[in-house]
Amino acid sequence: MDDDPRLFDYVLRLADNGVVLAQRLGEWVGKGPALEEDIALTNVGLDLLGQGRMWLAYAREIEARYAPPGRGEDALAFLRDGGEFRNLLLVEQPNGSYADTMARQFLFDQWHLMLLGALAGSKDERIAAIAAKAGKEVRYHVERSADWTIRLGDGTELSHRRMQDAVDALWMYTGEMFAVDAIERGLVAAGVAADAASLQGPWRSAVAAVFDEATLAMPGDGWMQGATGRGGKQGIHTEHLGHMLAEMQIVARSHPGARW
């Protein structure tokens, strides 16, 4: 199918969000603020990694149709350079403090849930099936991250300040989630992709409700990074991704062709 390279690109966007955010959450393992929380956050990371792998498996099938045999999940995860990654800028941002991590998680989870909800109705059966399965997991993710946003926002003076700072700092990466480029436009028209632009209103309302309970101020909508067709989805990343991949890929790349 002519559209396969575009579909491949689109599915990589979904896959890379999972793989990259899971990689970030993996950095927290053993270092969380409480043992229970350490375990819980790792579950989110494991879910996202699992979802990333499901999307990568589908990406391979698509790629195999026009460039057989298609790259496997490890070739895609470990042998692509930064410019070939298609994740949102938001998910590659460093962990920072727990407020930074939770703010990043909530802003993403809320969008992710809505996106997967829309994708569950995709005309592409594979996309619909993966989205339905992932959606169940993500419903729990957003419950947790919204809960922490509220607890930290409306906790102590210090936690409130840290949460507000985190939200303010990450806000400029949220616009990219709703920016629709030519690849998405074509797939939306075909009923395959979700129309991300249509999610912006509901996402804002959901985020505003949580911020309200968290006593957090909604940041002003200034300039949005990567929202004009030159962002993570197009392979133009922040400096953080390169360092993350250097670490993530080092063993796999040091032993070309090895099996693990």
Partner: protein, 94 residues
């Protein structure tokens, strides 16, 4: 050090229709967090479909089975936690 998160007892009902069973405990600031943490700590392998949580401090227990006065309980709380008496480091073998 600030005050500690309260301890909760966790009860889980598995898929086989049996009653909720005590599986262990954990720390959380409130019931909602206790339920979420229980899901992550005690059902990592799909062990359960329903979770009950109760503050350990709110659970009252019967006396141990033995009738002998020897085994009379010092109190009726199952979990008498920070009541232990720390010993100075220099005091050995007591």
């Amino acid at each position: 050090m600030s005050s500690e998160w309260p301890l909760w007892e966790i009860f889980i009902r598995s898929q086989h229709g049996l009653a909720h069973k005590h599986v262990g405990s954990l720390h959380a600031v409130d019931a909602q967090m206790a339920i979420r943490n229980a899901r992550d700590v005690y059902t990592r392998r799909n062990e359960g479909i329903s979770i009950w949580v109760a503050r350990s401090a709110d659970i009252h227990a019967s006396s141990p089975g033995d009738k002998e006065a020897l085994f009379e309980p010092s109190n009726d709380k199952v979990y008498r936690h920070p009541t232990f008496f720390p010993m100075p480091d220099d005091v050995k073998h007591i």
